[in-house]
């Protein structure tokens, strides 16, 4: 090791200064390193850190909107929101839930059903969500809970709104119901791009008007931008976009009429549709059996669910839209009109009905429902007495293609476009369809039975009502519509839905007149619905129908008493009134009801009596109906507004 030589002060000073300089530059370099780091953080990565800081401090709390109410045409509430205090438990904050339940039961009434429901919800819930234990707490209960709050961490009293359906089963198939937003719903909302609008919303329209007009009813979710500290506590509200409540919806439906129609339908299965022939408004829509939509707001227990899915009853099926039935004899007025329009027959042409029709060169007999025949039958009589032979013959003359074309104009075989989901299209057969469907040629005999609405042809009660309406209003096919108006809850402004015309059928007035008169004769003495039409204070046009459920063998007689209830014929009736200026068109379909004249026609009569006369079936004298301008008005009720166009652009318009 070299011994360091003596260092002079000058040398020492030079060395010191050099080293000091080096240290200075090193310090400078380190400072520059810091500068670079700061530029990196504060300039280049600024956006990133800015976002992180904002995420740190800001929480967005959704404020779900109040759902719009649903009213009938007169403002009667069909669906509303019921604000209530609920008792809720957040499971993960509560250790011993059973113990807490015991303690709580000293403060509030907890029925075994409440506990059962709670346990079920608890099993379905995620631990951090609060689970409802009781709803509709009384003020006294709320007060008691408030005082004892400190004892129950994780137990909360909350104000919630529940959907309520005061008419319950009566309106279930129209109004529909809400249910919890499912995974599928979420995906759908994602696709629509409205998932954000549903943050904080728990329920969504699952059926009926609630589903169809979900977008209007729901409203716009507001948001509270809240500044939070590191422990997640809200420090202050930065900004608040209040939720915009959903639109209220007014239906064409008349709650009174609907209620009455439901009552007079009795315990039959089936459907009734009443339309306003002046605009297509749905005045009543009954599907039996029905169900209580209030059930769906809560989780449904197993036994109720089994009932709702009973294989024969199937209360969840809206038979007015999804029940497809052979139209039976109710097709005859349309067939007659087709014959007149196509020039195949005149009102005065008559046939002699011996009780059956046979194709030329065939011995097969197409039997009339009246075994011995109706004798001499002209057009009017053919409808009034529902002569099958007349229509076998007419169908043969017309051929299936012409029949298909003509009937299709009335909306058969195609969805009516009513503003409810799940509608079926029914079927008007033609040879091409049969080839596609069965890869078989069309047999002439199939044309014959199609003439009386049997065979392949299928129609929904809604389609029958639409066709009847088109007949009533001289060929205007309106799209049936539940929505009459919607109201902006903030401005209170009403927007009226414009009637939609799907088509105008070119029909000669004199032909229409004949058919209409014939339909009036149906309800007059001598007609098939004479009993149901007795004493009507207006011109009551109708047509009975009976649709076979099981085939009757050649030469066998139909005997209702020998046939099991579910194999009895379906009873049908279509009607409109007053015949000269129709204000209501009705289609009634009673499953296994037996005969149209005996079961379906009286139902239609009562419905029309109520609508035109304000008369309830149990009253001898007409009741005084509250002055309702719409009923007297001749179609000017609905002022089409500009917004009406945008309301339903998703559906095609004619």
């Amino acid at each position: 090791m070299p011994v360091l030589r003596y260092v002079t002060p000058e040398e020492s000073m030079r060395l010191y200064r050099r080293r000091l300089e080096i240290a200075g530059y090193l310090a400078l370099a380190l400072l520059l390193l810091l500068c670079v780091r700061l530029v990196w953080l504060q300039v280049i990565q600024y956006e990133h850190y800015h976002t992180l800081a904002e995420n740190n401090r800001i929480a967005l709390i959704p404020a779900p909107p109040t759902r719009g109410a649903i009213y009938d045409r007169n403002g009667v509430v069909l669906a509303s929101n019921d604000a209530t205090f609920t008792l809720e438990i957040t499971p993960h904050k509560v250790g011993d839930i059973t113990g807490v339940l015991t303690q709580l039961s000293a403060l509030v009434e907890l029925t075994p059903a409440d506990i059962r429901r709670f346990k079920r919800r608890l099993a379905e819930s995620k631990g951090f969500e609060s689970v409802i234990l009781r709803t509709h707490l009384t003020d006294a209960e709320v007060a008691r809970l408030a005082v004892n709050r400190y004892r129950f961490p994780g137990v909360e009293v909350r104000a919630r709104q529940f959907r309520q359906y005061p008419y319950a089963a009566v309106m279930a198939h129209v109004v529909g119901y809400l249910g919890r937003i499912s995974q599928q719903d979420k995906q759908q909302l994602e696709i629509e791009g409205s998932a954000a609008n549903y943050r904080g919303t728990e329920y969504i329209g699952k059926a009926g008007v609630e589903a169809r007009y979900e977008r209007w009813l729901h409203g716009r979710t507001g948001v509270e931008k809240v500044e939070i500290d590191s422990s997640g506590r809200a420090v202050r509200i930065l900004s608040r976009t209040p939720p915009a409540p959903g639109y209220s919806i007014y239906l064409h439906l008349d709650a009174g009429l609907q209620q009455l129609a439901t009552e007079v339908f009795g315990n039959y299965r089936g459907a009734l549709v009443a339309l306003d022939p002046r605009n297509g408004g749905v005045l009543a829509l009954v599907s039996k059996p029905s169900f209580d939509p209030n059930l769906f707001l809560d989780s449904i227990d197993r036994s109720t669910w089994a009932l709702l899915n009973h294989p024969q009853e199937r209360p969840l099926i809206n038979r007015a839209l999804r029940g497809v039935y052979p139209p039976g004899s109710t097709i005859k007025p349309f067939m007659a009109l087709a014959g007149l329009e196509l020039g195949l027959i005149t009102p005065d042409d008559s046939i002699v009905d011996v009780g059956y029709f046979s194709l030329p060169g065939s011995s097969h007999r197409y039997r009339d429902w009246k075994r011995d025949g109706h004798g001499v039958v002209d057009l009017k009589r053919s409808i009034a007495v529902s002569c099958d032979t007349y229509y076998y013959r007419l169908a043969h003359q017309m051929g299936i293609e012409q029949m298909h074309r003509f009937l299709s104009q009335f909306g058969f075989g195609r969805k009516t476009g009513v503003d409810l989901d799940g509608e079926l299209a029914g079927l008007v057969p033609n040879p091409e369809w049969k080839r596609r469907r069965f890869n078989q040629p069309w047999w002439p005999g199939e044309t014959i039975i199609a003439g009386i609405g049997q065979g392949y042809m299928l129609a929904t009660p809604m389609q029958l009502a639409v066709a009847t309406m088109a007949l009533a209003n001289d060929g205007v096919v309106y799209q049936p519509q539940l929505l009459r108006a919607w109201q902006d809850p903030v401005t209170g402004r009403m927007h009226y839905a414009a009637p939609r015309i799907l088509g105008r059928i070119p029909l000669k007035p004199e032909n229409l007149e004949v058919v209409k008169q014939a339909m009036v004769e149906v309800t007059l003495p001598g007609g098939t619905a004479a009993a149901a039409g007795a004493g009507a204070l207006y011109a009551f046009a109708g047509k009975t129908g009976t649709a076979q459920v099981i085939g009757i063998k050649q030469g066998e007689r139909y005997d209702e008493r020998r046939i099991a209830a579910q194999h009895r014929d379906h009873a049908l009736f279509i009607a409109f009134a007053p015949a000269d200026a129709p204000r209501i068109a009705v289609a009634v379909m009673v499953e296994n009801g037996g005969s149209g004249s005996g079961t379906a026609a009286p139902i239609a009569r009562k419905v029309i009596d109520y609508w035109l006369l304000g008369k309830r079936p149990d009253q001898t004298a007409p009741i005084v109906v509250p002055e309702d301008e719409e009923r007297e008005d001749s179609g000017l009720v609905l002022e089409p507004s500009e917004s009406a166009v945008s309301l339903d652009e998703s559906r095609h318009a004619f």
Partner: protein, 365 residues
């Protein structure tokens, strides 16, 4: 004249440019501490009191003639080491570390004293041996450095131990330790690093790992560094404005008036403010080193330069830690962080710097 002499001392023993720069930095400190403490007047007054006390310490230190300081250096050092031994034997355990010694009257943290005593002692030793420096002398000096460092390391207080080592190293470096030794120490350090890993405590290892990947444990070890880089980064170029830092005021930033105060400052004043602060530190260091070079004795030069470089090291380590380029070590930002001990120590050090630079004529060379 007595009066003249008095004024002469007060004004001249204080280097006015440096006093001005330090005052500017303290002004920044007052504003930032006020913001970081949620406008707490109580905290503000405490901070102002600390500053006043520290300024008195500065003025007193600058009055001490360097030769007097030179005389007392072994005493201060020896006393400090004794206190450290006392800490090791009787010290109070706070937060898992034995750093404080209860003297009955007051509690002291002897490692703070050593921040100044160690460079003084090494400078004293080299000063004594300046006529005939031998390698053995450096070895003795290194021994003098390592004795207190080991004691402090065992408290454990790695941060202080490392920084005191640095201050001692500055003295040796400026005192002429040969480049060969410096280079071999550097090489040894690199080789020893993996072995040193074994001697580190778990929390120390975690701090280093955290630096490499703060998001490995974002709510645990990584929390401090993540939140402070967010604060710094989200300040952007212009900053969020004084008292408007969201990270600071919503309690996301930990230890915001002490070790992490630079994050508060950077968040509220942005890049422009940060660069100005760096400039201020650079100016103080420049001025300090200029004064050091002016000192007439080797002792003065070594002490002054080592104190200034240590000051810089503290500032750099703190800002490097807050901005996420150095591991988290408990080092305050000198003269900005809230805290009386550090404030007094640093300003006392600057008092010594001014003293050795201004007491020219009173020292014989």
């Amino acid at each position: 004249m007595h009066f003249e002499r008095l004024r002469h001392q007060i004004v001249l023993h204080l280097d006015l440019p440096l006093v001005g720069l330090l005052s500017l930095l303290l002004l920044v400190s007052v504003g930032t501490v006020y913001s970081a403490s949620e406008a707490s007047l109580e905290r503000l007054f405490a901070h102002l009191t600390n500053i006043a006390v520290a300024f008195i310490a500065l003025i007193l230190a600058s009055q001490i003639p360097p030769q007097r300081l030179l005389q007392f250096t072994p005493l201060v050092y020896g006393g400090g080491v004794l206190l450290l031994v006392g800490v090791a034997l009787f010290g109070e355990v706070v937060n898992g570390a034995r750093r404080w010694l209860d003297l009955g009257v007051t509690r002291i943290q002897p490692s703070e004293l050593m921040r100044i005593a160690v460079p003084l002692m090494l400078a004293w030793y080299l000063h004594q041996r300046q006529e005939s420096l031998r390698p053995l002398d450096y070895a003795v000096a290194i021994g003098l450095l390592l004795l207190p460092v080991v004691l402090i390391y065992r408290q454990p207080d790695l941060g202080t131990a490392v920084l005191i080592t640095a201050s001692g190293f500055f003295v040796l470096y400026l005192g002429g330790l040969s480049w060969r030794v410096l280079a071999s120490v550097a090489v040894l350090a690199v080789i020893a690093a993996p072995f040193a890993w074994h001697f580190l405590h778990d929390y120390q290892r975690r701090r280093i790992l955290t630096l490499l990947d703060p998001f490995a444990d974002p709510l645990g070890d990584g929390y401090h560094i993540i939140q402070s880089t967010i604060a710094v980064g989200s300040g952007g170029v212009t900053g969020k404005g004084w008292m408007d830092g969201t990270q600071t005021h919503l309690d996301f930033l930990p230890e915001r008036s002490t070790d992490f105060i630079f994050a508060v400052y950077a968040e509220e004043f942005g890049l422009i403010g940060s660069l100005l602060l760096l400039l201020l530190y650079a100016a103080i260091v420049y001025r300090g080193l200029t004064l050091a070079a002016r000192a007439p004795t080797l002792y003065g030069r070594l002490v002054a330069a080592a104190l200034v470089l240590t000051f810089f090291t503290y500032a750099f380590v703190n800002m490097g830690m807050v901005s996420g380029i150095l591991p988290v070590v408990g080092v305050p930002l000198p003269l900005v962080s809230y805290g009386g001990t550090s404030m007094v120590t640093v300003l006392f050090g600057f008092g010594i710097v001014m003293s050795v630079a201004t007491h020219k004529r009173l020292v014989k060379t």
